[in-house]
Amino acid sequence: MDFFSMDGRGFYVWGSFGAFLAAIVIEIVLVRLRIHRAQKAVCDTLGSADPSGTENSDAGKGSK
């Protein structure tokens, strides 16, 4: 119990660590959601634009 009370300053210590953990978790969830949304958008675009896949002739070409 002493560990959690932190000399009676538990609110300040765990309030800091809790906010830190919450921020990290929220950011990871948001980033994962964003990448899933982006991948879904690509899938939707592919599905509607080029079902045959014939437009892939210049795939892999990148530009600066």
Partner: protein
Amino acid sequence: MSLFKYSAPSSFYPLAGRLVPWFGTLAFLLAVGGLYLGLFVAPEDYQQGEVYRIIFIHVPSAWMGMFIYLVMAMYALLALVYQTRLSAMMMEALAPTGMMFTALALWTGALWGKPTWGTYWVWDARMTSTLILLFLYVGYMALVNAIDDKKRADKAGALLVLVGSINVPIIYFSVKWWNTLHQGASVSLTQGNKMAATMLAGMLIMALACWMYSIAVALCRVRAIILERELHAAWVKDIREVRT
């Protein structure tokens, strides 16, 4: 093989995907080690008692807030000088993480200030300049999202980041330039270490963990940004994740 190859989003996207798990795992392991040292091994501070343990997240958060902004400024320079699209994307990917760490530095600083100084907040030079850094992050994100034309948005954002970077040395040196309530630097390369070895080790390991985490999450976010911006590019159709 040239490193410049990776300045193209099409080359950088798969590389970032391969790097994310490595940096993520490193961040996790370092955080476990750093928190163990900070919460269980490091001794109680003779003046502040247990509340000083906030240092293990406050200092790394504050460092990351400043460091990420400097990295953004470097990318801003690259974006303006060399017109590399990936630089602008990296700026956009780093900003939310930098903002999060700056907000955490302010939050944990306030919770540390109350029991040690008797107040959550004062308009002290270090705290005020850190608050300005938070506004700079928010301002950058608002600006790039407010302009529809991505090229113009990137240019405006890069300019804002470059101009705002003057605030970082102000934050760092504020405790030397002005007589502030905030304590001076705990770690100095020129002066001796003022902390117990375990305290310092825990803090530095947590800083490394935050660094690795920032890289992992920024790489993950930049992959999303690349897909959003290159939605109609031909190479996107060959990506494994969207083909399966």
